[in-house]
Amino acid sequence: MNWAQIGERLAEATGLNALTLGHGIMLGVACFLVYLAVVRRYEPLLLLPIAFGVLLANLPLAGLMEEGGLLFWLYQGVRLGIFPPLIFLGVGAMTDFGPLLANPKTFLLGAAAQFGIFMTFTGALLLGFTPAQASSIGIIGGADGPTAIFLTSRLAPELLGPIAIAAYSYMALVPIIQPPIMKALTTKAEREVVMEQLRPVGKGERVAFPIVVTVVTSVLLPPAAPLIGMLMLGNLFRESGVVERLTTTAQGELINIVTIFLAVTVGATASADRFLTVQTLSIIALGLVAFAFGTAAGVVLGKVMYLLTGGKVNPLIGSAGVSAVPMAARVVQIVGQEAKPGNFLLMHAMGPNVAGVIGSAVAAGVLLAMFGK
């Protein structure tokens, strides 16, 4: 090699010449997301690695997400639909479905709150998105990260970055988004309803529950099986009480490892050319619509239940049906206590809250059945 050749080689290799304004803006976006995660504490477990993934994907010439790059390999776990169900395995191992078993009617609140998904789907269609893309945008309203990532990786992987970012950001903003809607749609009398204590739930029920939920939902709607199946396997580990080692691993090291890989690579799908579009702004706006309509629909069904039960159901718990576990249930608790200090709605809200996880997975199954390949 002569000096000129070396100079050429280095000039080709350095990213300085390839640096574009787009890269610069995306690095700014990444820093903003780090700020939201670290300073504002918006879902840091997901948003911090997502932010760093955005940064890594926008380093010129580093090629980490190109075929053969480090993040490309790790991304296969998302692309093949492996990571989101594994995260649901851990979520299932963490989730107590007891409040739902104690009051199964609250399943319906978890169904109603999926309304935001389909309204947003319609809105996205009207804004010119394809049905597959609109489905992925609508699912933001499910307020379940793994479900959103699973569906989007199947229907519209090109939108994975903005959808995941919108989903986790709005989940973090649930305490700000929901209360005004909840109050606008309810009377003070409704918010003051004290609900009767939940019955205790036995071990037999707890063990049978994940099995029957898996069978019923998966037979009815097979595309929901990977998510529901793994969620319920994790829950069966938990409730069986005989495989503590596996429960601990599923909700501990396994979910942590998968979260790192999933979040970094989902963030890394947000390259400048894909992310810096009007579509991204639309997605962010539509995501807010999704959360708002989901909350509203949950509360409205809560009001219906209030009427049908002669005032035994506090309609606020309907808003927890969007899931965003356990944040949305805590919001119910707060808004309820504002209306009537000492009223304890948290456990009542946990029923629709965990039902919302199942509801969103079912909704994702419907969308996959209708618009999947």
Binding site: P104, A112, Q114, F121, L125, L126, G202, A208, F209, L220
Partner: protein, 107 residues
């Protein structure tokens, strides 16, 4: 525009319909599960706690048949003794096998 709106509302209807159908089914099976387990739950747990049980005799008989042995009595008393010895052994094993406390069974 009209097409999109129509598809949107159609999907909303179908989607919410299926979601409510699925979760209504889950309401129903949840009540069934509760009904199936609530009254019997304490009995069930007692049964679970009892060592050995129905399959024991069958399998023991099969083992003996398979070996052409008939002179070994398979009695309920025997099984209870076993269970007792088992607990004793368990305790003794615990004291000694300090190094193998983690040996949950994979083999």
């Amino acid at each position: 525009m009209t097409d999109e709106l129509f598809l949107g509302l159609q999907t909303t209807l179908v989607g919410m319909g299926v979601t409510f159908l699925a979760l209504s089914l889950l309401v129903a099976v949840s009540y069934l599960v509760a009904a199936a387990f609530r009254p019997r739950s304490t009995l069930e747990q007692q049964a679970a706690a009892a060592p050995g049980g129905p399959p024991v005799a069958v399998i023991a008989a099969a083992v003996l048949a398979c070996l052409g042995q008939t002179d070994v009595r398979v009695t309920a008393v025997r099984r209870l003794e076993e269970a007792k010895a088992w607990r004793q052994s368990g305790r003794a094993a615990q004291m000694q096998a300090r190094r193998s406390t983690l040996e949950k069974r994979w083999r």
